[in-house]
Structures are given as structure tokens and as C-alpha cells.
């Protein structure tokens, strides 16, 4: 309860601060939306002339992409930990975090949130509606609930993986370039995994389960029954990965060495 109250306190503070720099805010939202549009055009161009890709139609692929955008937007809003090593370890900002009575990872989530990224979710839903219309998808009353569940699951998968990568900084003091690489790998999750070979498919399902952010949960709404099991695994995988990442984080924090001034 306390954490929820604190969350809204930070959100309110965030809004207040952003409103003060209104021009920046509009520029950012605009460039964000532009980025989404470019991405969408890219998808349309790439899949425009291949109507079928490993048994998936163009609109299905667009639908998956739209779905992917929603958990990804949540992830980018709340897990800005790509520069965790430089900012919190090398510069020693974690010192400050650790003297406050809130879980350290949660504090970083609160401090680094970027709510503008949530616009990506709006784009995502628009894309899904567009593709879903083309496909003539039906709609049932359970869909919003499952959608919510799958989106949260997908966000936790993404968050878990990136928290785990951030944790590397607690053990190794060298800088790694794993973070940007992971952003690239993450993109593979938004294409149907059966177009890849079985090794990549295995990796994207069980090792770096990015497939649970895009294709697996989206398959449910596309009515691809052969993937339903995976669709319903989405929240489970999300919770498992995120829990592992929290446990790792907690033991990593104990190894934090601080920055000698």
C-alpha cells in the first residue's frame, strides 16, 4: 500500500516537473510519435510484398507488432536502467538510494520513469485495431482482462531481463555492451518465432524469453490455437523472470562497493 501511495507521489511530482518544461515535453512526444510512425511504415514496407511469412499474413504480423508496442511502452516508461552502471555504480548514486527506506530497485524505477513513453502504447493499440479490423477479428468480454494480464507479463519479462543485465555491474566492474545488444535481440520477439530456426526459437522462449512480449501473447488474440499454451504462460514467465531478477538484484546490492570519492 505504501509503495502504491509513493508511486503516485512520484508520478505527481514527475508531471509537475514536466509541465514546467512544456516545450520539451511536446518535442519529445512528437518525436516519439514520429518514431512509432516510421517503425510502422517500415513494417508495412517490409511485409508489403510478402503476404505470407512462414504461414503468417501481413496483417497478423502487423497485429503482433502492435501488441508488442504496448508492454514495450510500459517497459520503457518504468525501466530506464540502460545506463545503470555509469549513473548509479560508477558515479556512486546508489549511495543515496541506499540511505532511503524504499526498495532500491523500486526507487530507481520511480526516479527514472519517463511517462511520455506511454504514448507508444496508444500507437500500439491503434495498430492492433487497424490490423484486427483487416483480419476481422472477433472480440469477447474476456479479451481486455487477458490483454492486461499479457501486457503486464510481457513488461515483466522485459524488465526482468534488463534488471538481470544491470545486475552484472555488481559483479563485474568493467563496462559491457550487452545492454544495446539486448535491445536488438528484444526486437526479435515481435516477429513470429517459427520463422527462425529451432535454436533461436528456444533461446527466445526460455533463455531470453522475448517471444513472450510479442508473438506468444498476440497469438491468443489472433486465434492461433497451437500457441495458446504459450500465450497463457506469458504472465507466468514474466513473474518467474522478474522474481529471479529481484533476487539477483538483492544479492548484488550486498556486493555494491560504492565509488571512492
Amino acid at each position: 500500500m505504501f509503495y502504491i501511495a509513493i508511486f503516485f507521489q512520484y508520478v505527481a511530482q514527475y508531471m509537475k516537473t514536466r509541465m514546467q518544461y512544456r516545450a520539451d515535453l511536446f518535442v519529445e512526444i512528437f518525436s516519439d510519435l514520429l518514431f512509432q510512425a516510421v517503425n510502422l511504415i517500415f513494417i508495412l514496407v517490409v511485409f508489403g510484398h510478402t503476404n505470407l511469412l512462414g504461414g503468417w499474413t501481413r496483417d497478423e504480423i502487423i497485429f503482433i507488432y502492435g501488441f508488442f508496442l504496448v508492454p514495450y511502452a510500459l517497459f520503457s516508461s518504468f525501466f530506464n536502467i540502460w545506463n545503470f552502471n555509469e549513473r548509479y555504480i560508477v558515479k556512486g548514486e546508489l549511495d543515496r538510494i541506499l540511505t532511503r527506506p524504499i526498495h532500491s530497485l523500486f526507487q530507481i524505477v520511480l526516479e527514472r520513469m519517463e511517462l511520455e513513453s506511454l504514448f507508444g502504447a496508444v500507437t500500439g493499440i491503434a495498430v492492433m485495431i487497424y490490423a484486427g479490423n483487416n483480419l476481422g477479428l472477433g472480440f469477447s468480454w474476456t479479451d481486455p482482462f487477458l490483454f492486461f494480464l499479457f501486457v503486464i507479463g510481457g513488461m515483466l519479462v522485459y524488465g526482468g531481463i534488463f534488471v538481470l543485465i544491470a545486475c552484472i555491474s555488481f559483479w563485474a566492474d568493467a563496462r559491457t555492451s550487452i545492454m544495446p545488444m539486448m535491445y536488438n535481440i528484444g526486437n526479435y520477439g515481435r516477429y513470429p518465432v517459427d520463422i527462425y530456426n529451432s535454436v533461436i526459437r528456444f533461446v527466445l522462449t526460455w533463455v531470453l524469453p522475448f517471444a513472450f512480449v510479442g508473438v506468444y501473447p498476440a497469438s491468443y488474440f489472433l486465434g492461433k490455437e497451437e500457441w495458446f499454451l504459450y500465450s497463457f504462460l506469458t504472465p507466468v514467465i514474466g513473474i518467474v523472470f522478474f522474481s529471479i531478477s529481484i533476487v539477483t538484484w538483492n544479492s548484488g546490492v550486498k556486493r555494491y562497493r560504492g565509488a571512492g570519492n
Binding site: 549511495d95 540511505t99 527506506p101 524504499i102
Partner: protein
């Protein structure tokens, strides 16, 4: 009386990696890295009672900040025992930090971009401070530290001294019984320093707040702390009253003379040949300093002799300052 801090055989080691030279060395570094284990804090033990103000001093790199970071739960000790406010700082970190306040002079504890009062407001929620508690306590803090006019400015626009006063206020929002201050007066002007000292004294008086403070400015310690703990290369070399440190280590007095006539060191040595005195000359200002044992009779005799033979313009008798005592201890060790 209860102990605010109990530290037993506390130790913190850091691995310091070194790289080998040359290309061959670089390849070997890939496989096995050379490292030395540096003991930053080496088996220290001490206790601090509730309400004490303790000065924690030592040269650069002595291990002061490392100790404070272990006491505040930021770093996990390599070995040893720490009990602060009855808790182990690393175990119940989130519960524990509610009972302490921390200020690092070198680093801001406040949010860079938001106005000071917004920071305060957030911290108030974070520490679950009620409106009544906040109003009664903080309005006083804000007034004493004179930060009212700074409240609506973002932290990044404050000067160092302004920021430090706000940091101090922020550390006290939950009115903790124990306050850790790591170089709180670094880089501040005299007025701000005085204000901060006054303030610390006041909250110590009012709430019996325990304060552990590191500083390189010994006048801070002299103004605030009866007790000092001195650290050297991770070990405690002195723990006791500031006064007895002075008595034990204050090596006599210095008497400064200025003369109306031209005087040489030889003249002075001749005049005072019968007593144990060492003379030194400050060439620029033409000040002659006599170093003598701290013995009233000897000193009055010495002055009498000099005044009888030479025309004196000014005399100044000085006790060895704490600064010098500490300098001497650093230079020569305690034994």
C-alpha cells in the same frame, strides 16, 4: 544509557586491480587479473552513546567514509559486527534507514532537478512524517538554517553553501535520533560553517541527537565534539577526549616576537642560552618564534630575558593548535 553505535572488529577490504604492462601483460590480464586486497577499514571497534557528538578524523584515505558507509548500510562489511540503533544496518536496511539521517558533503542527497520544497515534500511521504510532526519540527529547522528563500529553487541552481544547508534540513525531515555527517562543511565559508555548527549543537541539545561527523576542519571538531576518534590507515589510533589529546600531545608553547631593531637568530640564542629554547625566524614577516616547554616559569623567564636585552614591538603567546597536534600525530604516529 543505550549505545547508538556499537562496532566490533569491523573490517572492509577492497580489491584493487592492477594491470600488467605491455601487450603480453594485457593478454595475461584477460585470463587472470592481478589484484591486491586493500584493507580500507581494518579491525576497528568503538561505541557511541546516545546523545554524543563524536568527531571522526583522519588523513585522506584513512577509511572514514568507508566506515560511515558501513554504519549507514550502504556497504556490507567484510567481517565484524555493526549494531546501530539496535539493528544490523545491512539486514533490515529499509527499516533501519528510517532511524538515521545522512549527509555526504561531496555528493547531493537531493533530487537535482526539482525544487527544494518538492524534495522535502517527497521525503516527507517517503519517511511517513505526519503533517503535525513536519510543521512543528521543520519550520524550526528551516528558520534556523535560513533556507526559507531557497525553497522554491531547484537544487542544481543553489550554491554549495545553500545546498549544504538544504541537505542538512532534508536529512532531518524524519527527526532521526542519529545523524551521520561526512564532511558537511567542505568548501563552505565561515559564516555558513558557524551557522551549521550552531544548528547541530541546537538539535543535539533539543533532541539528544547523536552525531558522528567527519571533517578535515578541526575547528568544527573543537566547536562541537568532546570526543574524537582518530583513524590512520584503517586503524583507530586515538579514541578519547579532545582535551586529553591536547594535553598529551600539545608540545609546549610558541612565543612570537617582533622587534624594533635588527636582530639575528644568533643574538637570540646567545641571550637565552641558559634555557631550553628553540628559535625560528620567519624571514618575510621578521617574526621570531621561540618553542619552549609548556611551563609557566620557564616562559616568563624567557620573556624577561629577551625584553631586558632587546626592544620588543610585539609578543604573542600561542598554544600548539589542535591542527598542529594532529599534524604531528599523522607525521610521526602515535607512539
Amino acid at each position: 544509557m543505550t549505545d547508538a553505535i556499537t562496532v566490533r572488529n569491523l573490517k572492509k577490504e577492497f580489491k584493487a586491480y592492477s594491470s600488467r604492462s605491455g601487450l603480453k601483460g594485457a593478454f595475461r590480464d584477460l585470463l587472470t587479473r592481478n589484484y591486491k586486497i586493500v584493507p580500507a577499514v581494518n579491525n576497528i571497534s568503538f561505541q557511541v552513546k546516545q546523545g554524543e557528538m563524536v568527531g571522526y578524523i583522519g588523513e585522506n584515505g584513512a577509511g572514514k567514509s568507508t566506515t560511515i558507509k558501513m554504519l549507514t548500510g550502504i556497504l556490507t562489511p567484510t567481517s565484524g559486527e555493526v549494531i546501530v540503533n539496535g539493528m544490523n544496518p545491512h539486514k533490515d536496511r529499509e527499516k533501519f534507514v528510517r532511524t538515521i539521517g545522512v549527509v555526504f558533503g561531496q555528493r547531493s542527497q537531493l533530487w537535482w532537478d526539482i525544487a527544494v520544497q518538492e524534495s522535502f515534500r517527497l521525503l516527507k511521504k517517503v519517511y511517513k512524517v505526519t503533517d503535525e510532526q513536519y510543521d512543528s519540527h521543520m519550520s524550526h529547522v528551516i528558520k534556523t538554517l535560513d533556507i526559507e528563500p531557497l525553497l522554491d529553487k531547484p537544487v542544481r541552481k543553489l550554491s554549495l553553501g545553500q545546498r549544504m544547508r538544504c541537505e542538512l534540513a532534508a536529512a532531518l525531515i524524519h527527526n532521526p535520533p542519529l545523524l551521520f555527517l561526512d564532511e558537511p562543511t567542505i568548501g563552505l565559508d565561515v559564516l555558513v560553517k558557524l551557522k551549521i555548527r550552531e544548528f547541530l549543537k541546537e538539535i543535539n541539545d533539543k533532541y539528544n541527537t547523536t552525531i558522528l561527523l567527519t571533517t578535515h576542519d578541526l575547528s568544527d571538531i573543537e566547536a562541537l565534539c568532546e570526543r574524537v576518534v582518530m583513524l590512520d590507515e584503517g586503524k583507530i589510533i586515538y579514541d578519547g577526549a579532545l582535551k586529553s589529546l591536547k594535553e598529551k600531545w600539545g608540545e609546549g608553547k610558541e612565543i612570537e616576537f617582533q622587534f624594533l631593531e635588527d636582530v639575528t637568530l644568533n643574538d637570540l640564542n646567545r641571550i637565552t642560552a641558559s634555557s631550553e629554547v628553540k628559535w625560528e625566524k620567519d624571514e618575510k614577516k621578521a617574526i621570531f618564534t621561540a618553542f619552549a616547554e609548556d611551563n609557566d616559569e620557564l616562559i616568563s623567564l624567557l620573556i624577561a630575558k629577551v625584553v631586558a636585552d632587546l626592544k620588543v614591538k610585539d609578543i604573542d603567546i600561542k598554544e600548539t593548535s589542535t591542527e598542529e597536534i594532529i599534524r604531528n600525530i599523522y607525521d610521526r604516529g602515535i607512539s
